[in-house]
């Protein structure tokens, strides 16, 4: 591999890491409250409101049913509004975040829903309000699942960021298509695949370690 290609590889790694980390963080910040809202407003939840629950569910399903490559293009006006441009790594973070947030909200919802209802009842019996229940019961008890779900989301984002090359965001996927596939640079293709494997394994390993540390249930 030539020094120029190597430099290109390094830049692509950085772009992929940047896209994944930034949109992962954003999906965490927005997805977790959304997941909480889904659980809280559902039947028997701590802030039951079926109307809100259905509306939220419909919006989330709507975003989740659009293929990412379509979302990437369809969100161009929104991206331009937020970032000022519709091209480049930062521009890709907007559609990535918008796709990952509802995805992560659903994953967080599953973990939060598994918290034993008896624990919520115990907190209510102690005189706790909704905020107490969220802060002392729901989130801490669901934390292993919340972290494991975040790991899954990050890995999914690495895959999705490959498509972001379509709007000139660069990244490892883009490098693999343009050099590895279209220019028959097999060494680039192999290098990209190895880096991706290392990235995915690293994230999964770190996530699993963290979950094991957080999980006090057994």
């Amino acid at each position: 591999m030539s020094p120029i290609l190597f430099e290109l590889l390094l830049r692509s790694i950085w772009e992929t890491v940047l896209m994944t980390a930034a949109s992962g963080l954003i999906s965490l910040v927005f997805g977790l409250p959304l997941g909480l809202a889904l659980v809280a407003t559902d039947r028997g939840g701590i802030a039951e409101s079926l109307w809100v629950n259905r509306a939220l569910g419909a919006v989330i399903n709507g975003f989740r049913s659009v293929p990412f490559i379509i979302l990437l293009v369809a969100l161009i006006p929104v991206t331009r509004l937020i970032v000022g441009t519709s091209i480049g790594t930062w521009a890709a973070i907007v559609p990535l975040s918008i796709a990952a947030t509802p995805y992560y909200a659903r994953i967080a919802e599953v973990s939060l829903r598994e918290v034993d209802h008896g624990l919520i009842e115990a907190a209510r019996a102690m005189g706790g309000n909704r905020w107490t229940i969220i802060r002392e019961v729901l989130v801490p008890e669901a934390l292993p699942g919340i972290v494991a779900g975040f790991t899954v989301t990050l890995v999914t984002l690495i895959g999705a960021s490959a498509m972001a090359g379509a709007i000139g965001a660069g990244g490892l996927g883009d490098l693999a298509i343009r050099y590895g596939y279209q220019r028959f640079e097999t060494s680039v293709m192999i290098a990209v695949v190895i880096v991706l494997i290392i990235l995915v394994c690293g994230i999964q390993w770190a996530g699993d370690r963290l979950v094991a540390r957080l999980d006090r249930r057994a």
Partner: protein, 365 residues
């Protein structure tokens, strides 16, 4: 039915006399709650007095859980009134219920400890909810863990504890905010008999030491027998029987109470019961129930001295519940002499015993 027991039930049953509001921690009036077609509570009136342990017993589905949850507003009655320390709470909003719930501790069948928090943080949680400073919370948690005998587990997580230890933590947590009332929702139902005994002893201790009023629900008469002062039997959403534990045990009025008492009540040995026949035989077997004053007197020696003729004690004994003697004796009287039998029964009844002719056996036992 016998006058003696009726009188003792009435004098101690506050719903039959005029209630003294200053002594009542809980007063329920005509509580009703339906779930679809079934009435979980169908007009329950009940009083829990300061410092007592009231046990509510019933089969599963009898309405116990709904009842106990009405006391801290986890469940809302359709109609009726719930007074906690003189204040009607059944129509309070969630925000107004929160300070009230801090006056009421609750322990659960499945303990409901937070797995992500250490034992001491679990115990301190009610104080955190009250907004107390951390130093005070930890000091109080240490004090309570000492009370329940788990000081060395303060930094452990609940998953590493046994069932009995978990319930001790649950009790410590329920006491953290110095409640006026402790609700116990089948707190020993998930525990083995030995652990159950130790948890009940702890609750009784707390009741005596701190003067804490306790309302517990259970489906086990053993629980009622070992710690309750009074018992209320609930069936199909109604209180069918209520009174001091010893008197309900001595003289259960309803079929449901009798069936809940089951094996706790003395029974004729099975091989003897199998030989009982309705037709007259060589011997007649009597079941004699005595309690309170009646059981303190020299009943059998008086019977022998006053009524001439033989009788034999075939089974039975005197038990003590709440320091009251409660006994069941099975007597065998020769069946050939009907007058002698009638005299025996008349004498026993004159001594406030309840007598039931169980049947006859062909050959002497």
């Amino acid at each position: 039915m016998n006058q003696h027991f009726t009188a003792s039930v009435d004098t101690t049953d506050p719903t039959h006399g005029r209630p003294d509001p200053s002594r009542d921690v809980v007063r329920l009036l005509e509580l009703k709650r339906r779930f679809g077609a079934t009435a979980a509570l169908d007009g329950v009136s009940l009083t829990v007095r300061k410092g007592e342990i009231l046990g509510i017993i019933g089969r599963s589905g009898a309405g116990k859980s709904t009842l106990i949850r009405c006391l801290n507003g986890l469940e809302r009655p359709d109609s009726g009134e719930v007074f906690i320390e003189g204040r009607e709470i059944s129509r309070l909003g969630e925000r107004d219920l929160q300070p009230l719930r801090r006056r009421i501790g609750m322990i659960f069948q499945h303990f409901n400890l937070l797995s992500a928090k250490t034992v001491e943080d679990n115990v301190a949680l009610p104080l955190k909810i009250e907004g107390r400073p951390k130093a005070e919370r930890l000091a109080r948690a240490a004090e309570l863990l000492d009370l329940v005998g788990l000081s060395e587990k303060a930094k452990a997580y609940p998953a590493s504890l046994s069932g009995g230890q978990k319930q001790r933590v649950g009790i410590a947590r329920a006491l953290a905010a110095r409640p006026a009332l402790l609700l116990s929702d089948e707190a020993t139902s998930a525990l083995d008999p030995e652990t159950t005994r130790s948890i009940l002893a702890l609750l009784k201790d707390i009741n005596r030491q701190l003067g804490l009023t306790i309302l517990l629900i259970t489906h086990e008469m053993e629980v009622i027998r070992s710690i309750a002062d009074r018992v209320a039997v609930i069936d199909a959403g109604r209180i069918v029987e209520e009174g001091p534990v010893w008197s309900v045990f001595a003289d259960p009025r309803s079929d449901i109470t009798r069936s809940l008492l089951g094996a706790i009540r003395p029974q004729l040995p099975a091989e003897l019961a199998a030989r009982l026949a309705p037709a007259a035989g060589a011997e007649t077997i009597l079941r004699v129930d005595v309690a309170g004053e009646a059981a303190r007197g020299p009943l059998l020696s008086d019977l022998a001295a006053i009524v001439p003729g033989p009788f034999r004690l075939v089974h039975g004994g005197i038990d003590h519940i709440q320091e009251q003697p409660v006994g069941t004796l099975f007597l065998s009287v020769p069946g050939s002499d009907a007058r002698h039998l009638a005299e025996v029964i008349t004498f026993l009844k004159s001594r406030q015993a309840r007598v039931e002719v169980l049947g006859h056996v062909a050959n002497p036992v």
